[in-house]
């Protein structure tokens, strides 16, 4: 018997993914290879009965962990995935006034801009969740951006009754967030129920595991003995530590994440 809650979440996500594919063209999906975007990739396969009808894009800074690259190469082959590895601009090209770790994260933002310029995507599917971070809680499912990625959070479109703003002017693109309504725990329970493959780094080794996968320089493991999906789920059911506790950029200044987001970060 499948979990009713997961079935509801899944149905809603399938609806959003199919809506995006129906209404927006050309479209691509950001696949960071982490647990969220990999669960989302599974949902895409469900929506299109095993197919992946648009490219999966890794915004590559060359700074991901080795295990992440290895997992990508393996799954790309295993599932015959249409992957685009998009190289981000260098650290030296970033705004030097930003704190160092935020600057590193900014490379992805700039990478997304060059990606959009190159491939002319009108829509980018993105695996963020509302419960991750206060700012992401403010997001819409279909969230319009200006071409340079800027997000006008003060004047977001109304969004209700599952009718979305699906058209954007020429100088804009749309971010689509099919798993916005999922929680971290939902993702893990779904990963277990559907037996979705996952990068090993999430499982504890020598008393440490990664709860969230970012780049080498800005992501740290957290103490944990959870070396199976069941143990991870149990751990999350009782923890009070935030998911992004291992991400250093969010904490540098109280406003750094906000600054990143308003300039186009995921």
């Amino acid at each position: 018997m499948t979990d009713n809650n997961l079935q509801d979440l899944e149905s809603r996500s399938l609806y959003i993914i199919r809506e995006a594919y129906s209404r927006i063209n050309p479209i691509g999906m950001l696949w960071s290879i982490g647990k969220d975007s990999t669960a989302m990739l599974w949902l895409v396969k469900k929506a299109f009965f095993g197919q992946v009808p648009f490219p999966l894009i890794l915004l590559d800074t060359g700074e991901e962990m080795d295990e992440v690259y290895a997992f990508r190469d393996w799954l790309q082959k295993e599932w015959d995935l249409p992957v685009i590895n998009h190289i981000c601009p260098t650290l030296e090209e970033m705004d030097q006034t930003l704190p160092p770790n935020t600057r590193a994260a900014m490379r992805k933002t700039e990478g997304l801009k060059t990606l959009l310029a190159e491939h002319k995507y009108k829509g980018v599917i993105c695996g963020i969740r509302r419960d991750e971070q206060g700012l992401r809680a403010k997001e819409r499912v279909f969230s319009p951006r200006s071409l340079d990625g800027a997000w006008d959070f003060k004047d977001q479109p109304a969004e209700f009754w599952d009718q979305y703003k699906t058209e954007v002017p020429d100088d804009c693109h749309m971010r689509i967030h099919p798993i916005l309504h999922w929680t971290e725990l939902d993702i893990w329970r779904y990963t277990k129920q559907e037996n979705i493959p996952l990068c090993d780094l999430y499982f504890a080794k020598d008393g440490m595991r990664y709860r969230s996968l970012g780049e080498k320089s800005i992501t740290k493991p957290v103490p944990s003995d959870a070396d199976t999906l069941d143990k991870i789920i149990t751990e999350l059911e009782t923890t009070n530590t935030s998911e992004r506790a291992g991400r250093t950029m969010d904490k540098e200044t109280e406003d750094s994440f906000e600054k990143l987001r308003s300039q186009g970060y995921m």
């Binding site: 809650n5 009965f49 095993g50 809680a137 403010k138 109304a158 209700f160 703003k165 009070n240 935030s242």
Partner: protein, 641 residues
Amino acid sequence: MTKTQNKKHQKSHMGIVIVGHVDHGKSSLIGRLLYDTGSLPAGKKEELEAICEKRGQNFEWSFLLDAFQAERDQAITIDTTQIFFSTTARNYVIIDAPGHREFLKNMISGAAQADAGILVVDATEGVREQTRRHAYMLHLLGLQQIAVVINKMDKVNYDAKVFEAVKAETIEYLKSIGLNTSYIVPISAREGDMLSSRGDNMPWYEGKSLCDVFDAFAYKSAPTDLPLRFPVQDVYRFDEERVLVGRIETGTLHKGDTIFFSPTNEKATITAIKNWPSDESLMKASAGQSIGITLDDRIFVERGHVGSSVKNPPMLSNIFKANIFWLSNKPLKVGNSYTIRYGTIESKVTVQSIDTLIDTQDLKTDNNAQSVERNCVAEITLRARDSLPIDPHSTNPQLGRVVLYEGYDVAGGGLISMEGYPDQRSSAKPKSENIYKVTHSVTPNMRAERFGHYGAVFWFTGLSGSGKSTLAVAVEKQIFENNLNAYVLDGDNVRYGLNSDLGFSPEDRAENIRRIGEVAALQANSGVVVLSAFISPYQADREKARAALPNAFHEIYIKADLATCEGRDPKGLYKKARGGDIKQFTGIDSPYEAPDNPDLIVDTQLNDIETCVAQIVDYIKANVIMDKKQNASDGRIVSIK
């Protein structure tokens, strides 16, 4: 009291929206609730206290949610925030709806997702402008479960009399708009009274605490017991298999069921309910599920068509009423065109009338309004170009609500009412019940493949002398030469034969057009491109003609004003009418209703005949030549672009 394991398999997070007047303490209430229920990450409160100290501010619970710099500066919540928390009984997602008047659209975005609503009223201020407006919106959004909290009881010394007075005032307004509330709770968000714990300050209050009220709410249940509505979202093609995908909005469908599609009136049998990884044993799917189905027959189906049972389809209409709220800066006006969407259906509509403008403050109504300003509420009549599958909100809460778009943007929303409008499908039923339609074994697609084009009706309407017959004959010749099977139905030739028993009274004119509409539809069904050239002065009659062939009827307005037509007077009829020799002549002593939403306007006053003919020929070709519809019916190939 953190997330507990016994909630693992429960349905989902219950959505709670919190609304109320600005500064009545919505965000503070939420901040406090999170803290009291142990739902905050470790160190979060301390982090915020440190920030407040750094800024030289007193700590406020509302800062928890106000993650934006801008919000901290303005001390109001700008946008809907979703916050997850748990009581011992279940999980919740709180939607913090802002109270500022400017941000109604965000409040609606939040409230539309909720299972239940909490209306916050300040004990020191009582019911205010946005208290009324938000309560009315909750009502209009169809929210059934509402609780009221009277906040800031600490500021009135926890006085039971103040509570009773504000309570009475609130109930009075809610009753006037038809909202019932089971719970009215006195609280202090600042001090934490009557939220998670009851506190010691209000021993006189015997009702439920706020958390107990939450736990008493019921989930919005998926409407599985309503008639089936399956709006097609997309059509995918995999090799030889065509899969219709979409979400079941209401009801249930089974493998083997006959499914009936509106507005095409096509039906087929469901051969499989598809999913991935493939599960052959899937026999049934219900409201809320996103699914794919395959059919036994290759009928024409595309996005926006609505699947139902044969016995219980939606109504078909091109006109309906809606009780709307308006969000755009540009006022809604009579005659304006908008795009509506509901389910996966999309259509252009024109505002035919603004029937009642409603003031949410005092509920006064205005029946002579010409426009609906931002943040206002009104009952309006909308007219669509096409016949649409329609369910009133009273019988189908999922599909009986529309969102209005102005250009790229959502401009408003509202609930559909069909009060006073007949179902155009039922009104088109034959009088005698002993008539059975012949089931053709030759389908429209087969005919189209033979002829290279589909049959259709191109209905020319316009004043006498506007050029209908001249253009129809010229167009017929040209498209016939292009290998289209074309035929002109002209007013004069039909009057001598089929309709020789009819005169020119409004009733006879209506019957005249009804018969011609049916004849045109029969011809079109046999694969002919029919060009009909009749004055057809009444909009209602032309709509009946359209209803005879809803998907292949094209109204072409041949436009020229009365003076021009009278100047041309090719048959000398205007002269006779002016002289009183002809009675009830259209334009002189009988009205002509120009089309509101013609499919094509051909201006014979501005353009010469050649230009007009070319315009019509291009339009006809674009609409009947085989390729276009064939592809839509076959679905899209899911592939890498």
